[in-house]
């Protein structure tokens, strides 16, 4: 009489074991949600950071070769310069001594990953919809909201009101991503006599090679200013967690305190 019940018991036990295995699998595969920073964003962030570092400090070395800025197509006489620049000390430059020839090599070496990296990042980000984080809410275009957000920033409160980024963050990132960084590439290309031959519209866009050189220099320092604010904001919002998330990705919705 007991014989027929044995297979049933075995089947029940098997079923129970299968469920428990599935539970364990579920626990391991529990979907933790998307990363806070996508892999493409993190890769680009660090490649770009290194490239901008080399570009800026080799640029200071290049600036020392003729520390005057002009406006228009031509300019060579320091007396007609609109801005006379200081000579940047050797410890601030790449290489760590005055060498226009070597500084140019460093500048071009970093310019390639900078320009290609930005182009690839923007295409990937557009494709996968990351750029929607920067879309401004209608209310964010109002002067009142901007003033309120600046006040909030001064109290070191960075809580966003619409979406992922707060208002100043959005404005700043839009300015850097779509104006500052592309301007650096385009004004840099304008300085090349071969590129301005291939693409003469560059000269018309910026009003001449010397104007482009001035814009290149001013925007470079603008980006340096962004770098200072950026590092400051990271330092004030849990720097260890921020840097960790920009390296290993973090989890969306879990911002470091």
């Amino acid at each position: 009489m007991t014989a027929p019940s044995t297979p049933v018991l075995v089947a029940e036990l098997d079923e129970a074991a299968a469920v428990s295995r599935q539970d364990r699998v579920n626990l391991v595969n529990l979907d933790p949600g998307p990363r806070r920073h996508a892999l493409s964003t993190r890769l680009w962030h660090w490649v770009n950071a290194l490239a901008l570092f080399v570009l800026f400090f080799s640029g200071l070395n290049i600036s020392n070769a003729h520390p005057q800025l002009y406006w228009g197509q031509w300019g060579f006489d320091p007396a007609t310069a609109w801005l006379r620049l200081p000579t940047f000390p050797a410890w601030m430059t790449i290489p760590g001594y005055y060498s226009l020839a070597e500084a140019r090599l460093w500048h071009f070496l970093a310019a390639w990953p900078f320009a290609l990296g930005l182009a690839i990042y923007l295409v990937v980000a557009l494709w996968r919809g990351y750029l929607s984080d920067f879309v401004l809410h209608r209310d964010e275009l109002r002067w009142r909201t901007i003033v309120a957000d600046v006040r909030q920033h001064l109290k070191l409160d960075f809580t966003p009101h619409f979406g992922r980024f707060n208002l100043l963050q959005k404005y700043l990132y839009i300015l850097v991503l779509f104006v500052g960084l592309p301007l650096m590439i385009l004004t840099g290309l304008t300085l090349s006599p071969s590129m301005s031959t291939a693409w003469p519209w560059l000269l018309d866009t910026f009003g001449g090679r010397q104007s482009a050189r001035s814009i290149h220099f001013v925007v470079a320092w603008g980006l340096f200013g962004f770098f200072v604010l950026h590092v400051l904001a990271v330092a004030l919002s849990g720097p260890v967690g921020q840097v960790r998330d920009m390296i290993i990705g973090g989890r969306a919705g879990r911002e470091p305190a």
């Binding site: 600036s63 760590g96 226009l100 070597e102 071009f108 090349s192 006599p193 031959t197």
Partner: protein, 251 residues
Amino acid sequence: MIAPLKIGRRGVVGALLTGLLGACAKVADSAPGGALLETVERWNKGAQRLIAKRTALAREFAPADISPSFRGNGNTRPMGSAYVAHEGAGFADWRLVVSGLVERPLSLSLDQLKTLPQRTQITRHDCVEGWSAIGQWSGPQLGHILRLAGLTPGARFLVFRCADDFSGNPYYESIDLIDAFHPQTIVAHALNGAPLPIKNGAPLRLRVERQLGYKHAKYLTGIEAVASLAGIHGGKGGYWEDRGYQWYAGI
């Protein structure tokens, strides 16, 4: 408790910057790092040659755009006794010798150069240091002179010999055949309608409009067609190239 933490952070940022700047020096000093830096010149040349047509013309300006003066840079007056004598004689006996891998070596006087078909162009001169000047240049196309001499099939570069030197090291330059036969590449004898001033290369200078100023050799005495730049002075194709500057100076 916050203050010491902040100093700590600043210390970290400072150490990071110093470390990165130092790392750049380490990379440059290493053999692969140095090779990588030199490879960049090839990327620049490759990309620019890909984007620009071989015959694309550099921007030519209107007479109103000419800068009120044209800066002289580098050597602004050769000190050799031969040059000083030529200057005293108004460059009447100056010769441009075309030699090397050519079928018909030439020795051209200024008058002969002026009887060749002339090209006049108002172009911008871009110095590697960053400044620019605009001037009107006149002279025969280099391509025309080279066709008169007839390059032999082995010729790949044109080497330009000059009358000036830096502490006994002669100035020289070189370009490839693409730039040599470019319509705007001329042997200029006039700037803004007057004979070339001494500071700008009297009596003859090269104009290679799509490259930086140091390629535009001044005080030209000779043009030599060669198969390779190796063995000529430092072997890098120019006075500044032998001192670390890029041979391709389109950027």
